[in-house]
Symmetry: C2
Subunit: 336 residues, 2 copies
Amino acid sequence: MEKVILIPSEGMLSEFISILRKTGYSDDKAQKIAEIFTANSLEGIYTHGVNRFPRFIRNTRDRYINPDSEPTLTHASGSLEQWNGNLGPGPLNAVFSVNRAIELSDKYGIGLVALANTNHWMRGGLYGWQAAKRGYVFIGWTNTIANMPAWGAKDPHLGNNPFVLAVPYGKEAVVLDFAMSLYSYGKMESYANEGKKLPYPGGFDKDGTLTDDPEKILESWRTLPIGYWKGASLSLLLDILATILSGGSSVNEITARKAEYACSQVFIAINVNKLQNSPAIEKEVRSIIDDMHASIPVNDETSIRYPGENILKIREESLKKGIPVAGNIWDEIQAL
Amino acid sequence: MEKVILIPSEGMLSEFISILRKTGYSDDKAQKIAEIFTANSLEGIYTHGVNRFPRFIRNTRDRYINPDSEPTLTHASGSLEQWNGNLGPGPLNAVFSVNRAIELSDKYGIGLVALANTNHWMRGGLYGWQAAKRGYVFIGWTNTIANMPAWGAKDPHLGNNPFVLAVPYGKEAVVLDFAMSLYSYGKMESYANEGKKLPYPGGFDKDGTLTDDPEKILESWRTLPIGYWKGASLSLLLDILATILSGGSSVNEITARKAEYACSQVFIAINVNKLQNSPAIEKEVRSIIDDMHASIPVNDETSIRYPGENILKIREESLKKGIPVAGNIWDEIQAL
């Protein structure tokens, strides 16, 4: 196990800002992108925070990401808009699109922004938090490069297409952010590095047998869709929707390019303040969560949590103690 | 195994119409409801077609379903509307809501109808077909009575909250309709009746061990959410959204009434003809599906299908040969 060091969030933020500036981002964009990578790290999503930062910088240097691009409007039709991300930085394009969907929902009740030609948004949950903390319901998803087989297939033709649902909950939010494969490749790699089995079978080995051995799945690339045939179908539909709504690239078009860029995303915001029952919503959400919390746990060690519940604790702890980063990753970042 | 008989669809339709009329439905409503139950049966969804018809009639006789009710508008805010189903027949309320969401999408691009106080919609996929065959994207879901435990819990506090996504595909559609539990109780009962194991583990036994024995899950009521913790979270979010958007009842409020009535549903339609790329959509969907069909199957017997693909074949075959119905169920229907 690599040595873990604790980096204070301000230190991480300023390090990211300085590297982003060197990489061609304006001061304003460097600040915003650094804040996103730091927030994702503060909230425990290291795979799409600090651990992913070097790749984001490399992708910018390799011009997969254009640091100067801004989204441009392709087509507007009432509460439905199509935007072109112009291969700009994925997280900034996503923040822009959430804000635009919110503006549309302020005007119409529900607003949809479909974004073509954008880049990896890193952690989808962040955009759920962004909208829900401002009091909006958020539904969004992205397509990806093919990394999961169709049901009954051996070779990857589907993306894991992360899907986000978020609801305001007082000053915080209930935020679900999940990929269509049961485990990410990153997660399987960390189990493999520690010599551990997965908690549940996470894919098929080369011979088509369901296995909880991460090494065998990393070898076969046959990850398991959530709910087997169901998650595979959901992945297909999310790709079709992202592609046709944005007019952008599908999973197979992204995959044909070999590198994952120019993906398609959907951002839906709903202004719940426009609902008749808006004053009662917080109480209603609380009552649903209280009911779930009142479940009988399978044992004394199990805590039953709503999605996003744990984030609050991780954020608080990281703010106090610093963000845990593997020493080699921090070295790599400082050398960027 | 019960003897199976083949009923021509016209015979089934007229039988349903006559029973519905006797049960208090107007001629017009009897016709429409009978068409829905017949269509679901023709397309192979017997659990929410012919097999469910007796229960629908009993629920009407018991006044859980009010045959005279029509949906009424509670609140309108642009592309967002809240309707009250007034405990009318679920399938008619759902058809109405899809049509209303389509009207909103014609005006605004995207339209959302949230429906409170409605009844079981039977087969959600039907509404996906309804919208997509008319050329609209459809996203919809319903909450249900609690029938699945939260992740880490023993007792059911979550619904299986079926979710539907549909996209036009030429004159047909790609339609995904799935519940948050891997297997329905109906499916597990049929495996149990045939003395068979489930294809994959579908829940936990009383001692908390994952099992593919349907009898043990029917005993424990601990069904498995798709993707384990992911499907449990998705179920929670769909319930929160259906409840707050409609201002209606949540899973725990439905469950407190002991019988499943007055549930909450969401219907979203998107008018893809308003998109810049609308002329290219059919070709784009075809290209995504062709790419998936080009996957390498795990073996020679496996066919790789998009959701809804098989429905076309079943529909055609049932139209030709009749709809297969268990003899005892047809007897029960004729005695209604």
